[in-house]
């Protein structure tokens, strides 16, 4: 095994790319959960975003249109969940699971003839001088635009949730839908919007996966990323800033184990491939055992069905 082949700078750069899809999906789900809705369909929305974004990018030749279309399609499928849970009052856990299964099936149906194609290139930005600086240049100034977008989005969501009236209303709906309803807020409409936003973010994350991270289309390519995003929301205790830490932690584990596999560590690669999932479980356990923090931040109406009787 040759550990010296693993360069720390390359590791950090690829870590950020590996974390971005999960970060995007987690941010979307964070907003959804803050509105009091538990959408377990992240994996399904992500893979729909991955396949739709890929098809759009290959057809038009523009990765930007790919990202846009991925986000739109993610939001579109999230509406199935939204209508079922908000208007038809279906169980959120079951409907979310259904969305994941439906999304995985629909994605492989849509992507059938797109395997083995390369998407149009989506290159890193290059700022003269800055990007050429040793170490810092590549870590801070050498990424593709979507990575910067995901970081800006984190800040934007933090600002929206904590500093704006809209964010306050959204949180009120998530804490107590009955009280929010009594105050005259449109609980269902606000939740529909939150779900659509979550779908768009998941779709965007999926598109990043198929257009930049891999970059190819393959059946089942999300491989649990959507579920890890759900775990990160718990890890982040519903705070956007902490979602970055969570996502980068998992990105780090993923990239490190891939590098160890490539460096020829003397254990079966299958065991190394387990590590991101095991890390997720460990983190979930650590976070959950701190009951005080959990109950302070978890939206009180999370997963509960709202029916306006009057």
């Amino acid at each position: 095994m040759d550990l010296s082949s693993i360069s720390p700078v390359t590791l950090i750069v690829s870590l950020m790319a590996a974390s971005t899809p999960i970060l995007l999906a987690a941010l979307g789900e964070l907003v959804v959960e803050k509105s009091g809705v538990l959408n377990l369909g992240v994996e399904g929305m992500m893979i729909i975003g991955a396949v739709c974004g890929f098809i759009a990018a290959v057809t038009t030749g523009s990765p930007w249109l790919g990202f846009l279309f991925g986000a739109i399609c993610g939001a579109a499928v999230s509406m199935i969940f939204a209508v079922l849970t908000q208007y038809l009052m279906a169980n959120q856990v079951a409907t979310g699971l259904g969305l994941t299964m439906f999304g995985l099936g629909l994605a492989s149906l849509l992507g059938h003839s797109y395997t083995g194609i390369n998407p149009p290139a989506f290159s890193q930005i290059h700022i003269p001088v800055l990007s050429d600086l040793p170490v810092v240049g590549r870590i801070i100034f050498g990424h593709d635009p979507m990575i910067y977008f995901s970081l800006a989005l984190t800040f934007g969501i933090w600002y929206f949730l904590t500093r704006t009236r809209g964010g306050l209303v959204l949180r009120a709906v998530g804490e107590s839908h009955d009280a929010a309803h009594a105050l005259g807020y449109k609980v269902i409409r606000i939740r529909m919007l939150a779900i659509a936003f979550g779908g768009a973010c998941a779709g965007l994350g999926g598109a990043y996966l198929s257009l930049v991270r891999v970059p190819q289309w393959a059946e089942g390519m999300t491989a649990g990323a959507g579920w890890i995003a759900l775990a990160i929301v718990v890890f982040a205790s519903w705070k956007p800033g902490r979602a970055i830490i969570g996502a980068y932690l998992f990105g780090g584990v993923t990239v490190l184990q891939l590098n160890l596999q490539a460096a020829g560590l003397a254990i079966s690669p299958a065991y190394l491939s387990m590590t991101p999932y095991l890390a997720t479980i460990i983190v979930l356990v650590i976070m959950a055992s701190d009951k005080k923090r959990q109950s302070l931040n978890a939206p009180a109406s999370l997963g509960k069905t709202f029916f306006a009787s009057t």
Partner: protein
Amino acid sequence: MLRLEARPEPSRAMVILTPIIAVVATMIAGGILFAILGNNPFTAIRIIFWDPLFNDMVASYTRPQLLVKAAPLILMAIGLSFGFRANVWNIGAEGQFIMGAVIGGGTALALYPLESPLVFPLIIIMGGLGGFLWAMIPAILKIRFNANEILVSLMLVYVAAQFLAAMVTGPMKSPVGMGFPVSRNFNEYQSAFNAELLSNTGLHFGVLVMMAVVVVGYIFLTRHIFGFQIRVSGQSARASKFAGVNPHTTVALCLGISGALAGLAGLFEVTGPAGKLSTNFPLGYGFTAIIVAFLGRLHPVGILLAGLLMALTYIGGELAQFQMSIPAAAIQVFQGMLLFFLLGVDILVNFRLRRDTKSKEAH
């Protein structure tokens, strides 16, 4: 304008009717899907739902398949339904299915070539134990640390799949498999092979176990204190405490039972229909079982019927794939739609549609 009005009591007729409405709606929506894919929707629906049972050309092969495919689905769905009733969400049945197959199958591989009537009972126990222990991980983490069992059990599916991969490329790799990542074939090992008991019926030992579980499950749910306890904990965690239900016991029992049944399903599958351990062994039955559980209204008898129906879509789907080259994924979409329609029409059980004539003054 239509509006929803809460029923004073859940409609019993709708409990039975809604799954049928959902199936019909799925056939219509599925027909549209097949038409978009460029196939004749009526032919496709006939191939999926009619031909496997009644077309003489293929039925001799497909009819026995019905029991083979339905057995693991029903076995797992009944286990899951207990938890779902009690709000214990084990969605990692796929992982427990894999672990049952790996532990049970692995035991058989370790004993090879010992021929003894004790081998089969032993590997059945090991298979059930494998699934049980795998499900105990989320159970213990939930009880001890309050970790979300949905995410933990789901993460363990991926871990189990990787464990299977490690096993079939390492210790369980067949010495006569020419280097492929597969285990020895179980049909070469008389004592461990889960053979068809009556030829051309698809009836293997797992099917018998499945049938017994349907009966026992029914008795447990409707006639036993355990059934009452899980129903009350699902409806109100607070009320269940007053009724003397220990929530930790409920979590452990629900996850343990569903895990053991999923492990058994995996063991019967790998030693019978699948025939060997390989990375292609997991087919997503653990996830389909979730649909089966809901389609069967979390009731053993309903699950029996739902499992047979879902098995039919698998077999019919394969037929449609073969005869009309409808992609396999279309069937997955079809199954997903079925769950959506079911959850959607479910509202008719507790609500009824009323025309809003008197506008707001009703309240």
